[in-house]
């Protein structure tokens, strides 16, 4: 009589054994070390934020205190507004520039590479000392408004936005796609909007994500220019009440992670550049 094998549902230990047999033990070890490196500080933050509570008080007392403070919302929305403005200005400036350099001036790419790393090598304090007088001369009206931070953050975000767009454009056959669109009658602006941008979606989302992270977390310039952004507010709270400050830090972590996850999910939808041909 023929033997029949019936598939049996895998138990947890079975599954673990299978994973162990597929992944070398050293990989798991380093993965664990990496996870601890990131998760331990977060755990410490959460733990500290639940301490210093008087008997009978809500365990989430410091979190509730943060949410009750009207300056929390004001500073958070100010940072969100600045972050979105920074993303918008960065995209408007960088997308057509990088597109044009890749398409028509590829010889300028090394120059662009060099320019894009300047914010890495010039400290923010030096940048602001140089930029502030210029911006003040350029527009006193703008200088006293928080929007001025967006212009400065565009410079800080330049390396990230440029690298993301550069990588995105390298991943597609820009020249052929542009020429194909032109041969079908499309102008260059139309080609950029209808053909190139949808295929740069992942790169744009990636660059925007990093720009948001920079704009939301920047402290030095905002503090020096006297704007109470979210990071400045967090610092101020931390200097007066340690527990509340740490609770606020955890909230800000969650908010930024949430924003990034949102952007990531938005970018996952499609528009991937790589078109892999199926074999005939």
């Amino acid at each position: 009589m023929a033997q029949v094998t019936v598939p049996v549902a895998q138990t947890g230990s079975h599954r673990l054994r299978r994973i162990r047999s597929r992944v070398p033990i050293w990989h798991l070890f380093w993965l664990l070390i990496g996870a601890l490196f990131f998760l331990l500080p977060v755990y410490s933050v959460v733990r500290f934020s639940l301490q210093g509570i008087l008997p009978g008080q809500n365990p989430l007392h410091w979190y509730l205190t943060v949410f009750d403070d009207p300056n929390f919302k004001t500073s958070f929305w100010l940072s969100v507004q600045i972050a979105l403005e920074t993303v918008a200005v960065s995209l408007v400036l960088m997308v057509p520039t990088v597109f044009w350099v890749h398409l028509r001036l590829p010889g300028l790419r090394p120059v662009m590479d060099l320019v894009s790393v300047i914010p890495f090598v010039v400290p923010p304090i030096v940048l602001i000392v140089g930029l502030a007088p210029f911006l003040k001369t350029f527009s006193t009206w703008l200088f006293v408004r928080p929007e001025v931070l967006s212009l400065i953050y565009v410079v800080f975000a330049l390396p990230f936005m440029y690298r993301a767009l550069d990588a995105g454009l390298r991943a597609i056959d820009l020249k052929t796609m542009t020429e194909a669109a032109e041969s079908l009658g499309a102008s260059l602006p139309r080609t950029l909007v209808k053909v190139i941008l949808p295929n740069l979606r992942a790169a744009i989302i990636g660059g925007s994500l990093l720009t948001v992270a920079i704009a939301m977390g920047e402290f030095t310039v905002a503090s020096l220019m006297g704007f109470t952004t979210f990071s400045v507010y967090t610092y101020n709270v931390g200097t007066s009440t340690a527990y509340e400050g740490v609770a606020l830090t955890f909230i800000s972590l969650l908010l930024v992670w949430g924003a990034m996850l949102g952007l990531y999910l938005l970018g996952r939808g499609g528009g991937g550049a790589a078109a892999v041909a199926i074999k005939d």
Binding site: I172, A186, D280
Partner: protein, 356 residues
């Protein structure tokens, strides 16, 4: 009706001459192939016609009007590229509709035209697929449909099949020709594949170093090469070097052998050094018994190699004229082996003479 004429087209890239006073005339509804090795300027010529490159001098006339002043998006020329050029964010249908959308055609008109053209290229059932869901051959079919959707005055194809498998390439090139004949569209096709060019073109322009070496029908190019380059580039040729003994009688001495060359284009003076070309299929072999001499008018030769090519076998021969190649039917080749002595008959009517 659309004609294309290139007049004195020149283009240099630094020190490299891509096009050297290129002249070419393509008739209405004609299928012309630009054939040549890499770097001969064929793609540069096509890109200048399309508007993606500009010549240093010369004219590109479409229906008698110079189009060099017009940008690529105003020339109304369909182009299929060597690289897969479909827009990855669009389905096959949306790709085909793109040019019509630019021309502000209604949604219904666009959908109808896209369906017609995708059916024409045999992809009526793949309209909603994205490029990543199509094979290379299917992508190039969609690219062809997309370029035809705008009803172009001229169709330009830049080695569209070179990235495909040999079998798909043969199938698709026949489809390209069928569609071109069906639509009667003036077509310029760039390729380095001589078989491709000869099999689907009305006329072929063989190019070398930015110039047209010879422009003619596939039969003229194959049977009557006018330059040594064309003779060597198109197909396989036996090349013999000789000296004209008699101009009137068209007698050429090649080593110890005198050859009569009835080539109607023979126009050389006595004493002139010429090259004679003969295709392997124009040489036939007869087996010789041991010690026998070949009949009068035939050469003696010894088999040096046998290469099986399917229906024919290419036989390498050592002769008084130097090494020769002959194509014999593979059945006959079974009687041959290395060092077999054979009598060689040259079809002198197929001999072509070119001055050195």
């Amino acid at each position: 009706m659309t004609t294309v004429e290139l007049r004195g087209l020149s283009r240099r890239f630094g020190n490299v001459v891509a096009l050297d006073h290129l002249d070419l005339e393509v008739h209405d509804a004609e299928f012309v192939s630009l054939l040549g090795p890499s770097g001969c300027g064929k793609t540069t010529a096509l890109r200048i016609i399309a508007g993606f490159e500009w010549p240093d001098s010369g004219e590109v006339l479409v229906d008698g009007h110079d189009v060099l002043g017009r940008p690529a998006n105003k020339r109304n020329m369909g182009m299929v590229f060597q690289a897969y050029s479909l827009f990855p964010n669009m389905t096959a249908q949306q790709n085909v509709e793109f040019g019509l959308r630019v021309r502000k055609q209604s949604r219904d008109e666009r959908a109808k035209r896209a369906r017609e053209l995708l059916e024409l290229v045999g992809l009526g059932t793949a309209m909603s697929r994205y490029p990543r869901q199509l094979s290379g051959g299917q992508q190039q079919r969609v690219a062809l449909a997309r370029s035809l959707a705008i009803a172009p005055s001229v169709l330009l194809l830049d080695e569209p099949l070179s990235a495909l498998d040999a079998k798909v390439r043969v199938q698709l090139r026949e489809e390209v020709r069928r569609i071109q004949l069906e639509l009667g569209i003036t077509t310029l096709y760039v390729t380095h594949d001589q078989e491709e060019a000869l099999s689907i073109s009305d006329r072929v322009a063989v190019m070398s170093d930015g110039r047209v070496e010879q422009f003619g029908t596939p039969a003229q190019i194959y049977s009557g090469p006018r330059t040594a380059f064309v003779a060597n580039f198109v197909g396989t040729m036996n090349r013999l070097e000789g000296t004209v003994v008699s101009s009137a009688d068209r007698i050429v001495r090649c080593g110890p052998v005198m050859l009569n060359v009835p080539d109607p284009s023979f126009n050389h003076l006595a004493g002139e050094t010429v090259e004679l070309f003969l295709r392997p299929e124009d040489i036939s072999l007869e087996l010789l018994s041991n010690g026998d001499k070949p009949p009068e008018g035939l050469l003696e030769g010894r088999v040096t190699s046998l290469t099986f090519l399917g229906p024919v076998t290419r036989v390498g021969l050592a002769t008084d004229l130097g090494p020769l190649l002959a194509d014999v039917s593979s059945g006959v080749a079974l009687t041959l082996a290395a060092d077999t002595v054979v009598a060689i008959r040259l079809d002198s009517t197929a001999l072509r003479s070119i001055a050195r």
